[in-house]
Symmetry: D2
Subunit: 344 residues, 4 copies
C-alpha cells in the first residue's frame, strides 16, 4: 500500500516513519511539512539518516498526494485534518488522523472543548481504538485515531464499563505522561532544566482528552458519564501510566472484575493482562504497541484501581495508527508491530 | 541545644545534618550507625567532607547519648524508635522520631499496618505535623514526625476537612514521589537503569501512609474517614506531588474553598498558597521546607482537586523535624530553615 | 539456525533476545541462568511477556546445550566463557562471547588486566569487531565480540591509525556511557538517587578496555600503542559517546582525514559518517546497531578530535554479536538489525 | 552593602538572589530585566515566592541604579557589561560581571573569540577567580568573574602549571556540563525530549572558554599555552566535571604532584582535595561553592589526569561572584556561602 504522512516532522510523524520502515506492505510515498518544505527529513531527525533521506513536501497540492496514496496519515494540529478530509472526500484514498478532528461522534462536543468550528460534520468516520472498535475500522474511510491519554484510560476502564461493574460517575483518571507527548516545539516550560528533577500537573479539569474518555465510557456502559481526568508531566521522554479509580457496584466480587478483563482482552495480542495485584511499568512497553494492564481492589473503600501503561508515541499514536491501518487493509493486525519493547 | 542523630546514614539523617549545619542554636554531639560504627560520616557521604568529619558511633549505649543530648532525632526503620523511647523515658532528653513508631494515637492501627507489636503504648507523644498540631508540640516529650506522603496529603486536605466542605469518604489521594523516598539501600527495582525513563505505582491500597492520613482527616473533620491513597515512583531524586480528589458537599461555592485555605494557612510561613487554578511544581520547593498548594474546582463533577508539593526529605522529613524542634525549643519556627529553594 | 544464550538475565542477554525475536533465521532454543534456573525469563523481564515465556535452564549440561545449538552466545562475566569454549571445543557449535575471554590475541595481556589465568590459550578465535575483522569472522569457531567502549573508540580511530595520519602515542580517549553498561545487579553507587543529576569518572588509567583499544590500534597502525582511556558514567540508560584526541602527523591536511574515513567506512551500512565538523548524539543511535561518527580538526593545536556514538547494548554488545552471527552464517549483514533508532 | 543585579531573570541571576538571601551583609536594592520590566521576579521564578516579591526594573537609568548601589552584579549576555562599566566608570559603585567582557587582559583575544569590538579597553579590572587572584580582587573596581568551565579547568590545572610539572602544550580539557549552563531561554536542541537520555559534544575546538583557560595557564606557568577544550552536555540540570590531561615533565614523581595541590590549595576553604586516585562527583558539590579535585597518574603514558567538579551556577557563576564580593568588601570569604551541598 502506498502511504503518505502529512505533518511528518512532529514526534508522532517521525515515529510513524520509524514503524513503517519495517512494515512489509507499506511504502511511504510523500511526507509533508509546511515549515520545512524542501528540507530532508534526516536533517531534522538525524536518527533517520541513511533510512529516510526523503524530501519534505508541502501539502498544498493535497489532491495530488491523495491520488498517489492508498492511505494518508495525518500528524497535524487539530483543525487541519478536517480540511484534508473534505479535500479528499471524493477520492478512494483513506485517512487515519492522529489528531482530534475525527474522534467525536457529536461534533458539538469537539467544538466546545477545542474552541473551533467543525467544518466536516457529515464525515463518515470511526473512532480508531482498535481493540474496541475493530469492526467499524475495517471499512472506514476516515479513522479518528484515539488520543494517547485516552487510549490508556479507555482500555483500562472498558471491561468494567461494559460489564456494568462500576458506577461510571465515580471515575477519576489520574494520568502521567512523558514529555514527548507535548510535541517537538521548544517551549519555555518544557526546557530541559525546567522539567528535569521536577513533576507537575497541568490542565486540571479542562484537558481535551476528558470528553473523549467520557464518550467511550458512555458508549460502552450505556450510561452518560462525566468524570475527572488529570494529566501530569513526568520528567522522562516516553510513556503514559493511567491510574483509574471507580467505585464498584454493590456486591461485585473480585472474580467478576478479573473475568471482565479476561473476557474483553483475553485474546488481544497488544493488551497484556498482568492480573489483579500487579504493577505495570511504562518501561516495559517502551517503543512497542503493547498496553499492559493490572488492577487492584480496595475492600476498605470498595473501589477498583486500574493501572495501565502505554508508549504514548506508539500505542498512543503512531503504533495504533498502523494497527488501524492493518485492520483497514485486512492485514494481520500485528504486521510491522511485532517486536520487543526496548528495555532498559 | 545539644542534639544527636540516631541512624545518621540514611537520606533523612544526612539531610538533618545538612540543615542543622546552619542552625544557630543546635550543636550535633552524636551521630550513630550500627552498620558503619567507627567510620567517618564524610566517607559515606563525601558531600559532607570538611563540614562533618565526625565519627559514627553505635547507639548501644543509648543512655549515654541521651544524657549528652537535649534532643535526639531518630532516623531508623520503624520498630527501633520505640525501644529508644522506652530507654530514655526517664531522662529529660526529648525525642523527635522521623519514623512511624509514634505517629498513631491508636497503636492498634500501627500494629495492623506495620505488622509488629507496639511496645511503648503508654508513651506520651504528639503527631508532628507542625502547622496543625503546633500547640501540642511545644511541650511534647516525644514527637512522631509526620511522614512524607502524609505531610503533603494532610496539608492539602486539612482546610476542607476542618471546614466540612467535602465528603471525606470520597477522598482519593494519588501521590508521586522522587526515589530518595525509598531510602539509600540499593535494591534491584531502584537500580538506575530500571527506573530511568520509567514510571510506576506501588503498594496500591496497602501503603502504610494510608492510616496516617485517615487519622488526621478523621481528627480534623470529626468524621471517621476511609480513603484511597496510591503512591507512584517518579524518575527523579526529590519531591512529592499529591493530587487529592474529593466531592464537595452540596452548595459549597468556590469562594468558600478559597476562604478555607486562607483561613488555615494565611499566616503560615512554610505554606505558600498559589491559589485556585494554579500549578505547583516539585522543583519550586526543592531543598526547602515549603509546601506549595493550589486547588481546582471541577463544576462538571462537583469535585475539588488539591495539588500540593513538598521536598520529601525536607518538609517531608528532616526539615519538618527541625521545624518541630524549633517549636519545642521555643525558637522562631523558621530558624535554620529560612532559605531559598534550589532551582533549577 | 538454532541459537542459545548463556547468561540471558543480564542486560546484554535480554537485548540479544530482543534482537533475535525479529531475526528471520535464528531460533532461540536454550536460555540459561544459574541464579534463576527454572524461572521464566518474562518474570524477570516483564517487557518480554507474551514474547519470550521461556524457562531459564542451568548451563551445567553445557554439552547438551552445545549439541542442540548451531551458535552459542555467551553473556557471562569474564572467566566463564573460556570454560564453555573448552567444553565445546570438539563440537561443531560456534561461539560468540560477549565478554572479554576471547578478545586478546596475547592472553598474557588478558591475564595482566583481568587478574585471572587464561585457561584456553590455544583457542582459535577472532576479534569480533565486524567492520574491521569481517573476513576473519566468516569462518571463526570462536568470536570474541568487541567491548562496548572499545567498539566506539576503535571505530573512531581506525581510519586514522590505518592511514598513519596520527601519532598513535598521543591518543586520549575520553568516553562516556549510560548506566546500563554497568550491568543489572543493584549496587549502592548505581542506586537511582546516587546517580541521578550526577556525573563522575571511574577506573581512570586502569579500565580493562584500555588494552583492547591498544591491541586494535597497534594492529591497524603497525605501531605499538599505549594510550589513555577514561570512562565516565552519564545519568542515562543507554549510549556511549567517545571523544578521541590525537595529534596529526606533520603536514596532514583535513582532506586526508576526510578521505581516510570515507575510504574505510564509505560502504559500511552500520557506520554513518556525519562528516567533518558535525556532532553525533547518543539518542540518534539508541536501540540500533549504528555507529555515528564525526571529526573535528583544531588547527591551533594540530589535533584531530573524533566523536563516535553507539548504543552500548546494541553495537556495543548484542547487536554486534548478531552482526557477527550474520557474517559467520553468510547471511546479509543487516539481517534482523535493519530498523530505525528510537527517538526521542 | 547595597547590591543590584542586572539581568536577574537568567539562571545565574536567580542563583545570585538565592545566595544573597542568606548573606548577612548584602541587601538587594534593584533587580533588572529588559524583557520583563515591571513584572514580579517571583512570577517568573515561583520558587522565590514569599522570599523575593520584587519588581523587575529596566536598567535604562543605569546611573541611578549605580548611585543606589555599592556593588552591581551583571548577569547579561556578553557585550552589555562593558556599556555598564563605561556608564558607571566615574561612580564609586563596584562591578562584578558574570559574563566575559572583563575577563581578558588582552581585549584583542576577546574580540577574536567573541566577534564584537571591545569598547572599554582601558577599564581597570581583574580576573575574578578568587583562589588565584585574591589579592587583585580586594581593591578592584571591576571584577570579571571567571566562567563556569574555566573555573573548573583552571583550578584543576593551576598547581601543575604553577609548579612547572607539566608540558602545558599537551593539555587537553574534556569537560561536561549540566544543561542549566546553556541558559533559561527555550531552544529546540535543549527541549526536554531532545536531551533526555542523550549525550553530545558541542563547539569542539571553538568554545569561547578556551582562550580564558589559556590565558590563566599562560599566566601561571609563564609559558604561552595553546590547548584543547571540548564541552559536552550532560542530561542533568547542574554540575560540571572537567577531565584534564597533560604530560608530566620528565622525572616528575607522584609525590611532587600531590605536593603541588597541597601547597596551592591546602588552606582553601572552597577547594576540597580528595587526593590522588579519588573520584569527585558533581552531586557532592551541588548547590554549593565547593570545587572538589582529585588526580590520577598513569605511569604507562606518563600523563596526569585531573578531575574537578563544581556547581556551574555556584562556584561557576553566582557563588564565585559572592566570594569575590566578600573579598572585595573585606568580609570573611565564606560569608553567605557556608552551607552543605544538596545530596542526593
Amino acid at each position: 500500500m502506498k502511504v503518505s504522512v502529512l505533518g511528518a516532522t512532529g514526534y508522532a510523524g517521525a515515529e510513524l516513519l520509524r514503524i513503517l520502515y519495517n512494515h512489509p506492505d507499506a511504502e511511504v510515498v510523500h511526507i509533508t511539512s509546511e515549515s520545512h518544505t524542501g528540507e530532508n527529513i534526516s536533517d531534522l531527525y538525524p536518527h533517520l539518516r541513511g533510512l529516510y533521506d526523503m524530501k519534505l513536501e508541502s501539502m498544498k497540492d493535497i489532491e495530488a498526494i491523495g491520488s498517489d496514496s492508498d492511505f494518508v496519515f495525518i500528524g497535524l494540529p487539530h483543525g487541519h485534518a478536517m480540511e484534508v478530509g473534505k479535500a479528499l472526500a471524493d477520492k478512494p484514498v483513506r485517512i487515519i488522523d492522529l489528531g482530534a478532528d475525527y474522534r467525536f461522534a457529536d461534533t458539538s462536543v469537539y467544538e466546545a472543548w477545542y474552541h473551533v468550528p467543525h467544518t466536516h460534520t457529515d464525515a463518515v468516520r470511526v473512532y480508531g481504538l482498535a481493540e474496541l472498535y475493530r469492526e467499524d475500522i475495517r471499512e472506514a474511510k476516515i479513522i479518528g485515531n484515539a488520543g494517547c491519554f485516552t487510549t490508556a484510560s479507555i482500555l483500562a476502564l472498558a471491561p468494567l464499563a461494559k460489564q456494568h461493574l462500576i458506577d461510571v460517575n465515580t471515575i477519576i483518571v489520574d494520568a502521567k505522561s512523558g514529555v514527548s507527548g507535548a510535541g517537538r516545539s521548544a517551549k519555555q516550560p518544557n526546557h530541559f532544566p525546567e522539567l528535569y528533577d521536577n513533576f507537575r500537573a497541568y490542565n486540571v479539569a479542562k484537558h481535551r482528552h476528558t470528553p473523549e474518555i467520557e464518550q467511550a465510557i458512555t458508549d460502552l456502559s450505556g450510561e452518560t458519564t462525566v468524570l475527572n481526568f488529570t494529566p501530569h508531566l513526568v520528567p522522562m521522554s516516553r510513556g503514559i501510566l493511567a491510574t483509574c479509580y471507580a467505585s464498584l457496584k454493590d456486591g461485585v466480587q473480585p472474580e467478576l472484575v478479573d473475568a471482565a478483563f479476561e473476557k474483553l482482552y483475553g485474546k488481544e495480542y497488544f493488551i497484556r493482562l498482568l492480573g489483579r495485584g500487579a504493577y505495570p511499568s511504562t518501561k516495559n512497553v517502551r517503543g512497542s504497541n503493547f498496553c499492559d494492564i493490572a488492577w487492584h481492589i480496595d475492600e476498605r473503600t470498595n473501589r477498583v484501581i486500574v493501572l495501565s501503561v502505554i508508549d504514548n508515541l506508539v500505542k498512543g499514536a503512531a503504533g495504533q495508527a498502523v494497527q488501524n491501518f492493518n485492520i483497514a487493509c485486512g492485514f494481520e493486525e500485528k504486521t510491522g508491530l511485532d517486536y520487543v519493547p526496548m528495555y532498559p
